[in-house]
Symmetry: C2
Subunit: 140 residues, 2 copies
């Protein structure tokens, strides 16, 4: 899935009312969101099949909504790559973003995404943090 804003190859989904007409900043006008119900399973799986993006999701679930700006995440990539990953998550309906001042705050779209893809976020949030010492409990 292409994230570039001028990519219009896919058929445009029906528009969805997202903003409540509040005064939004200049940057906020370029913020296009996709509702999880309009996301294909392929795009949802592709978005979550990346360790950096799953880290974002996990950190986001650890705090309250609209409290984490993009720059406050502990990620092993530069801010350019970081921005790319946030865009992918946004276009996949995983997160919602809002501009506050010069910062872009994030929110995990837990209920909507759960309704569209039940159990998928739970798998990500319960993922062992790459500790590699899984216990290997009893099984035939």
């Amino acid at each position: 899935m292409n994230v570039r804003p001028e990519s219009n190859t896919s058929s445009t989904p029906p528009p969805r009312p997202a903003d409540e007409g509040r005064t939004q900043s200049q940057r906020a006008r370029n913020l296009s969101h996709v509702h999880p119900a309009d996301v294909t399973l392929n795009d949802a799986l592709t978005a979550l099949a990346d360790p950096v993006r799953r880290t974002i999701v996990r950190e986001l679930a650890g705090g309250s909504d609209w409290t984490r700006a993009c720059g406050t995440f502990d990620l092993p990539v530069t801010k350019a790559t970081r921005s790319h990953h946030f865009a992918v998550l946004r276009q996949a309906g995983v997160i919602e973003q809002r501009d506050v001042g010069s910062r872009r705050l994030n929110r995990l779209r837990r209920p909507e995404f759960d309704a569209a893809f039940p159990g998928l976020l739970d798998l990500v949030l319960s993922e062992r943090r790459e500790s590699s010492h899984h216990s290997n409990t009893d099984r035939p």
Copy 2:
């Protein structure tokens, strides 16, 4: 994830008894399986983030175990690519394979995979068959 048999870069997971010592054919000795409990979430998501592989999973769930050979699937790829996709699914713990004569029969590892990744297979099996006419029911 590399599927090539001689790729030994990753740390070898603890061996798991898979065969019950039955007389197996020559080809079956090169058949390495991975239990879903030993599969990372990244590999599971990556394996299912492909439309061809999800088609295999869906067709496999539509029939009984050990009734479908690799060549009997309706896929838009050549047999080389087909073989590759089956290997990816096998290494991700999604399917199990068994050689019978010159054919390789398949089985979806439903209970084991469900135990390791609850709800993930359900999402794939309930996927709208790319019909693109999703109903857009009521939501705020």
